[in-house]
C-alpha cells in the first residue's frame, strides 16, 4: 500500500458504501458508552471519586454523540480538527476514569478507557484517512499505556509496568489497526475500480461516436430528402430558377436554420426534464450554466431525480431546478445547483432513496446539502463550472 492510500478518506472514494455503513460510528460509540457504564457499575467499589467517574462517562458520551452526528448521512464529514477533538475527549474521559479509581484500581484489563478510545477510532473508519487513524490510535494507546504504568504498585496483579502498558495499549492499537486497514483496503479497491471504469468508458468513446455519426447522418439525409434535395434536384434538372423556387429556397433555408438552432439550445437538463416529465419551464438557468456542470455531478443528480420519479416519491411536475453563480472569496468561479422537490409526503422513504445519490454528490462537490421546509425538500450543491 502506497503512502497515498493511507491519506485517502474512504467515504470520498466509496460514498455509497459510506452511506450504507454510516451506522458503524453511532454503534461503535454506543458500545463504548455502554461498556463504560457497565464497567463503572460493576467495579463501582473501586471508584473513589464518583464525580470524576460520572464526568468521564459523560465526556465519552459527548464524544460518541459528536462522532454519530458527523457520520450521519446528512453531514458525513469529520475534519481533522474535529477528529482530534473527538479522540481527545475520549482520551480525556479515559484519564478521568483512571483518576476516579486511582490507588484503588484492581485490574487494568477492567478499565473501559482503552476500549472506549479504540472503539471511537474504529467509528471513524469511513471518515478519516488510515494514516490519521493510526496516529490517533497510537497517541491514544500511549496515553492509556502511561496511565496504566503509573498505577504500578497499587494494582491487584503484581507485574512489571511494561505488562500493564501492553494490557492497556493493545486494545487501542488493535481497534485502530482494524479501522486503518479496513479504510485503506476499501479506498484501494474503490480507486482501482474507478480507474479501470474510467478507462473503459473512455475506450467506448470512439464506438459511441461512430454510432451517433451514422444515426445523425441518416436522420439528416432523411430530412433533406423530404423537401430540400428534391427542390435542388428539380432546379438543377430544369436549369432555370422560378420565383416559386426562390421563395421555396428561402423558406427551406429558414426552416433548416431554425431546426439547427433548436438543437443548439437543448441541454442535458432539457432532456432530463423531458425524460422525467418535469414542466418545460422548470429549469431556471439565466447564466447558461447547465452545460458547465461536471459530468459526474450531472449523472448523480439526474439518476437521483429519475429514481425518485420511478419510485413515485415526487411529482415531476412539482419539481424545479435552478442554477446560479455563487459569490466566492477567492477569484475562482463557483456556481450552485438547486433541486427543489415540492409536495413531499413520504419523508422517510425519500430520505432513504436520496441518501446514496446525495452521498455521491457530497463526495464530488464537497458542499452538498439538503434542507426541508414544510412539504418541500431542497438539494443544493456547488460546482466549479467546467
Amino acid at each position: 500500500m502506497g503512502s497515498s492510500l493511507l491519506d485517502r478518506v474512504p467515504s470520498r472514494f466509496d460514498p455509497i458504501g459510506a452511506a450504507a455503513a454510516w451506522l458503524l460510528a453511532p454503534l461503535a460509540g454506543a458500545v463504548a458508552v455502554g461498556y463504560a457504564v457497565i464497567q463503572s457499575v460493576t467495579h463501582g467499589n473501586e471508584i473513589v471519586r464518583p464525580e470524576l467517574a460520572v464526568v468521564a462517562v459523560g465526556m465519552l458520551f459527548a464524544a460518541a454523540v459528536v462522532l454519530a452526528i458527523a457520520a450521519h448521512p446528512s453531514i458525513a464529514r469529520l475534519g481533522r480538527p474535529a477528529a482530534v477533538l473527538v479522540v481527545g475527549m475520549t482520551v480525556l474521559a479515559s484519564v478521568l476514569s483512571a483518576v476516579s479509581t486511582w490507588g484503588h484500581n484492581r485490574l487494568v484489563q477492567d478499565d473501559w478507557g482503552q476500549i472506549g478510545v479504540g472503539l471511537i477510532v474504529l467509528g471513524m473508519l469511513w471518515l478519516r484517512p488510515a494514516l490519521e487513524l493510526i496516529v490517533l490510535g497510537a497517541l491514544g494507546a500511549l496515553v492509556v499505556g502511561v496511565l496504566a504504568a503509573e498505577q504500578t504498585g497499587s494494582l491487584h496483579i503484581i507485574n512489571t509496568p511494561y505488562v500493564y502498558v501492553v494490557v492497556a495499549a493493545t486494545p487501542v492499537l488493535v481497534l485502530a489497526a482494524v479501522a486503518a486497514t479496513c479504510g485503506a483496503v476499501i479506498s484501494r479497491f474503490a480507486a482501482e475500480w474507478t480507474r479501470s471504469s474510467r478507462a473503459g468508458m473512455a475506450g467506448l468513446g470512439p464506438e459511441f461516436r461512430l454510432l451517433e455519426e451514422v444515426a445523425l447522418h441518416r436522420a439528416q439525409v432523411a430530412e433533406l430528402k423530404r423537401t430540400t434535395l428534391p427542390l435542388l434536384a428539380s432546379i438543377a434538372a430544369r436549369g432555370s430558377v422560378t420565383q416559386a423556387d426562390i421563395e421555396a429556397a428561402a423558406r427551406t433555408a429558414a426552416q433548416l436554420r431554425e431546426h439547427a438552432i433548436e438543437e443548439l439550445r437543448s441541454t442535458w437538463l432539457d432532456r432530463l426534464a423531458a425524460t422525467t416529465g418535469m414542466k418545460p419551464n422548470a429549469v431556471n438557468d439565466p447564466a447558461h450554466l447547465a452545460q458547465r456542470v461536471p459530468a459526474s455531478e450531472r449523472a448523480a443528480i439526474s439518476a437521483c431525480l429519475i429514481e425518485l420519479v420511478r419510485l413515485g416519491l415526487i411529482d415531476p411536475a412539482d419539481t424545479a431546478i435552478s442554477l446560479t453563480r455563487t459569490p466566492t472569496v477567492e477569484s475562482s468561479e463557483r456556481a450552485g445547483f438547486e433541486l427543489r422537490l415540492y409536495g413531499v409526503s413520504e419523508w422517510r422513504r425519500l430520505r432513504r432513496a436520496t441518501r446514496p445519490f446525495f452521498s455521491v454528490l457530497r463526495s464530488l462537490s464537497g458542499d452538498a446539502m439538503t434542507t426541508k421546509a414544510g412539504s418541500s425538500m431542497t438539494v443544493r450543491f456547488g460546482f466549479d463550472p467546467a
Binding site: 483496503v185 475500480w193 471504469s197 451517433e212 438543377a236 430558377v241 423556387d245 449523472a299
Partner: protein
Amino acid sequence: MSLGVPAQVAREAGNRAIATSTQVAALICLAAALASVLAPGFFVVGGVRWWAAGSLLPMIVLLIVVMATGNRVVMGAYAVVGCLSTFAYTVAVLQQTASYTNTDLFVVALPLVALMLIGGSRQDTRVGVLWATAAYALGDLAVFAAALVAGRQFRFDSISLAAYILFMALLLFNGITRGSYRGAHALILRTLREQHVDELRLEVAAELRAELHDTTLSELAALASTQPGPLVPSLRERLESDISHWTTAPHRAGDRLDAADHVEWRQSDLARAIDHARDSGLVVDVSGDRGPYSALSSEARRAMGLAARQCLVNVLKHSGQSRAEVVLSASHDEVSLVVVDAGRGFDVSLLAREDNDRMGLLQSVIDRVERVGGSVSVFSRAGAGTSVLMVVPTAEGGSL
C-alpha cells in the same frame, strides 16, 4: 473522488478489508503476547523465557503465510499450531507471574483472540463464523489444559469473549451493509454513459450543422438571392455536387459499411448484454472480430447474446471480480464467443449435480446454445477463474 463502486466490488472490498484488518489485528495480539511473556523476564537475571516466546513464533510465521497466500491448508495449520502455541504460552505466563491465579486474564486472551480472528480470512461470512468459533473453542481447550498443567484455576475469560462478540458483530455488519444502495450506483453509471452519448451526439450534430451550412444552406441562400431565369452554370454544378454529397458520397466517418455493421452490432443481444453488465458495474473488455457474429442467423445471435448475458451475470454474482473479457472469433463454419473472468471459479463437476447453484449456467447458457446447434465448454476450477466457450455454427457452414 468517485461515484462509488458496484455491488460485486463492494462485497469483495468489504471481505478483503475484514480479512486484512483481522489478520493485522491478530498479528498485533501475538506481538503483544510476545511482549507480555518477555517483559517480566528482562528485570530478573536469566529470567527471560525465550522458550515461551519461541512457542508463539510458529503461530506468527503461519499467520504471515496466511496473510500472504490466504491458503486454506495453512489456515488449518495455523489453527492447530495456534492451539499448541497457546497452550505453551499460557503455561509460561501462568508460571511466570505468581499473582496470575486464574485464566481470566488479558494476557491469556491475546493468543486466543489471534486464533479466532483467522475466521476473518474466509471470503464467505458464514464459513468465517464457523472457523472463528471452532478456533476459539479449540483455543479455550488449550487454555484449559494449560491451567491444569500450571496448577491454576480455569476461568472463562471475558476479554476473548467480548472480542469474539465484537468480531461477529463486525462480520454481520459487513454482511448487511456492503451490498446496500448499490442499485443507485448502477443507475448513476447508466446515466453517466447515456449523458456521455448525449454529449457525443451534440458534438456530432454540431459538425453536421457546420457541414450543412457549408453545403446545402449555402446553395439555398444563393438560390434565394438570385433572380428568376436560367441557372448560372457554376451554381448548377454546386447543386449537383451538393445532391451527390448527401446521397452518394461516403460519410467522413469512413467506411459506411463498417458503420452499418456497427449499428447492427449495437442493436444486438450480445451488445445489450455487455451494456447491461457495464451498467451493473462490471468492466467488460471486448475483443475480436464482431462481423461474423453479426452475420449469424437472428436465432443464433439471440441465443448467443442471452447466453453471454447470463455468463456476465454469473461473473457479477459469483466471481468476486470487477472485470470480465468477451472474446469473439470465427472460422469459416462457426463463430466462437468466450466469456472469461479471473475470479474464484468453481468445480465444474458440480454442474452435473441436480442441487447445484449454477442452474443459470445450465439452463440459460448450455441449453440455449445447444438449441441453436451450438456447444458450450466450461473451464473452471476453484480460485483459477472461469472461461465459458460458446461455439455456434454459421448458416453456411453448419446446420442452421
